[in-house]
């Protein structure tokens, strides 16, 4: 709809520097995933046994929360392009609320695992689990700060800078898709 009609045929969303960051992060997380799969290949049984201690339901709900958050942020970007700043700001707030929900649920999940004695030093699986999920967690926290900055941009007196909004949205969507892969590799694959 608005995306197709208001964007030029070829348009790099956001500031070009965000793509250096995003592609760099994709390489770094790709290395994490490779290391995880390498270790998993060497002790498949341990990884399967350890995986049963994770809460697949919590992981799935967190996936749905981040997907919903991404939808709100994408709709907010479209609304801002259409100069509907009130809707854009409201949608961004909803996106941030979902992100905060992810943080709370993830914290609860860690708390329950740590309470059960499952720590980063328990075994190789939990080392990867805590490493990957905590690095991702900090990405979410940074993303929440960025969403607050974007919301201020939308509520300012000057017209919002679309490139800034697209840059922040690009970062937030990256946080979303990295979690999709973490959920599949760490929680579900057998």
């Amino acid at each position: 709809m608005t995306t197709a009609t208001t964007l030029p045929a070829r348009h790099l969303p956001g500031d070009p520097s965000i793509w250096v960051f995003v592609l760099g992060d994709m390489v770094i997380f790709g290395c994490y995933f490779a290391a995880y799969l390498f270790d998993r290949g060497h002790d498949h049984e341990l990884f399967l046994q350890s995986q049963q201690h994770l809460s697949q339901g919590v992981g799935a709900i967190n996936t749905l929360i981040l997907l919903t958050s991404s939808l709100f942020v994408a709709l907010s970007t479209q609304a801002a392009r259409a100069a509907d700043l009130r809707a854009a700001s409201g949608l961004l707030t909803l996106g941030g609320a979902c992100g905060a929900g992810f943080v709370l649920l993830k914290s609860y999940e860690w708390y329950s695992k740590l309470s059960a004695g499952l720590t980063i030093s328990s075994n190789a699986f939990f080392m990867h689990y805590y490493m990957m999920t905590s690095v991702h967690f900090f990405h979410v926290l940074l993303g929440l700060v960025i969403l607050v900055i974007l919301r201020r941009e939308l509520q300012g007196s000057a017209p919002p800078r679309m490139q800034l909004l697209e840059t922040g949205a690009t970062y937030w969507h990256m946080v979303d898709f990295l979690w999709i892969i973490i959920f599949a590799l760490v929680y579900l694959m057998r």
């Binding site: 399967l48 991404s70 697209e166």
Partner: protein
């Protein structure tokens, strides 16, 4: 509100949410064989994750409107990820 419901991005979200539930059901433990290795479960779960990721990258990140080099780079990354998983089986 109605425009948001009819927005193609919302349709994509519905697809992503349903895929997540299918993936969750496939990868969760069912019955006595719950913790056995399964190439089928892994294949389903990983393929769904890669398809979902591509949808997020192309539609939410708007990479489908981006220059071709970026579209190809993102697809190459997904292919490498698939290769990494396939290599382990």
């Amino acid at each position: 509100m109605t425009s948001h419901v009819r927005n193609p991005l919302t349709g994509i979200w519905l697809f992503l949410a349903i895929s997540t539930v299918i993936s969750w059901w496939s990868g969760s433990q069912h019955g006595a064989n719950s913790y056995q290795a399964s190439t089928w479960v892994t294949a389903i779960v990983v393929l769904i994750a890669l398809v979902k990721t591509r949808f997020v990258i192309r539609n939410y990140m708007e990479v489908r409107f981006a220059p071709l080099w970026l579209q190809l780079t993102c697809d190459a990354w997904l292919l490498c990820l698939f290769g990494l998983v396939a290599d382990g089986f």
